[in-house]
Symmetry: C2
Subunit: 312 residues, 2 copies
């Protein structure tokens, strides 16, 4: 197994990325290889500084970087030697089994679709996020920003993707899938959710439990919450701002600790032909380490194969 | 001035409502009269229990109640003697200067539009909510649920309504108005926000400061945040759930205290020809008291007259 990691992406790259890789190494099995993609002249000194044997990793040298503010499509096309472009090229060629980066999210989404392509039958790939649950455990919300405008059949597919992720990677049996809405009753909603509800109610492709509301993100009503990417992105950023607030205010609590994105690693891109993970821009070594584990879990569970089978 | 209050609406009615009215009374001026609308046979004993002179209030007896779960339009039409229907009838006849209730929100919205009507020139009235700001003070978010689907010109009007409320009732000079979006850049968004942005950028009707994101709800980037009612409702309920969490977990903090809806009273309905306020279903006496003060402030500031003038 080859787990690809972009060493140049993220606000604290390359240092946080290299430290994350070192931290992950000791928990990886002998056949779980980490491939570091980036400027080896920057990577090697960081390894020796930490007394780490460079032979534990594989390296692919790149000499371009896609910046956080760059236009995704232009950057992918104009920087073929960037760590993100090279990572996707290797993923496409089967030389990597997964690719993860804490760099430019848009470039990661575009790169995933350009290189390994959308799984046949899937209308739009999406970006998911892991949410901690109050009573323990975790859940998934999707889409959180890849598709600002969605149609009912796209949301129905997000339900399938989320359910398969929850079942196979999070190991939740018969995951409860819900639709984010502005009321619990069947007839509540905007045009999109009203049109999506009957599709979800009728489907046998996942265990639909009905509508949930904004207040239900962290409770046990659903394991998987489906929404359009605009709503999901706004919710995710609002929730993050609360976490930041509790930190700033020194409010210590076990739940808010679990709310730390670092614990979960990255946001899985679902619906493309390979495991792809996008890390938070401010990814710390801990976050990078967990993104590596998440990459491994997506490979081991054969999530992509199961999604491909479901859409055949 | 006649401030109308529904005594029968809300989870803790009539008791919390009567206690809130009593609490408000001592801060009201001699010409600021409270009119209690509800079952006087239930109201009077509560006053005497609290040693309160019933002559301080005016009363309108009603013998029907619209329940929280009733269909708004049907309930308004089928229960003409309900406290909500009677309140709106009096508001329409000019026998009240404002009407507030913590009862069925949908019935309040329908009742407002049926009775005092939408202000000419306004496409859709909306529901706003007051949000505490981290550095002190308060802001306004709208719409939070009256219009699940919105068009760009509707959002533009929400900007005008919110700006006028912030300026006249919250007394914020030249309020900063922002569009809730999924990125700060001009070209970010879904179809709705992308089409709304240029309208807001060009308008001279309020001080548009650009896009804000979910994480900006409580900071000082904007005094007024405009969004469609689906997004606003989801955000409001998510934010409320955090407040409830901090309470449950015993996390004491000045900011989270200010987050308590009780401090602000109700949600102003903006865009109809009279001041209308909808209280939280779980309104306590404190919340009812503050909703009464908010009613008074909406009357005193002549907010409705100023909105009417702006749309002439």
């Amino acid at each position: 197994m080859k787990i690809g990691l972009d060493i140049m992406g993220g606000d604290y790259a390359p240092k946080a990325n290299v430290l994350g890789a070192i931290a992950a190494h000791q928990s990886l099995k002998a056949d779980e290889h980490l491939v570091l993609i980036g400027d080896t002249q920057q990577i090697k000194p960081l390894l020796s500084e930490n007394g780490f044997n460079p032979d534990h990793f594989e390296y692919v040298h790149t000499d371009e970087i896609i910046g956080m503010g760059e236009h995704p499509t232009k950057a992918i096309l104009q920087k073929p030697n960037s760590s993100i472009s090279v990572g996707f090229q290797l993923l496409k060629e089967g030389k990597l089994d997964s690719f993860a980066s804490a760099g430019n999210s848009g470039a990661m989404l575009v790169g995933a679709v350009f290189s390994v392509k959308t799984i046949p039958g899937i209308i739009r790939p999406c970006l998911s996020t892991i949410v901690p649950k109050l009573k323990g455990g975790i859940g998934l919300m999707l889409d959180v920003g890849a598709n600002a405008d969605c149609k009912p059949d796209t949301l129905l597919q997000f339900g399938i993707l989320g359910s398969l992720y929850a079942e196979n990677v999070m190991q939740i049996e018969n995951p409860k899938v819900a639709l984010m809405n502005i009321g619990e009753e069947d007839e509540k909603g905007n045009m999109l959710s009203l049109a999506t509800f009957p599709l979800m109610k009728e489907t046998k492709l996942f265990n639909f439990v009905g509508n949930v509301e904004g207040r239900d993100l962290f409770n046990d009503k659903a394991d998987v919450i489906v929404c359009d990417g605009f709503t999901g992105n706004v919710m995710l950023k609002l929730a993050e701002s609360f976490y930041v607030l509790t930190i700033k205010k020194g409010l210590k609590d076990e739940f808010f600790d679990r709310f730390n994105y670092e614990n979960y690693g990255g946001s899985p891109v679902l619906g493309v032909n390979a495991p792809v993970l996008i890390g938070h821009g401010i990814s710390s070594p801990e976050a990078i380490k967990n993104m590596i584990f998440q990459s491994r879990d997506m490979i081991t569970s054969n999530l992509v194969g199961k999604i491909q089978a479901a859409f055949q």
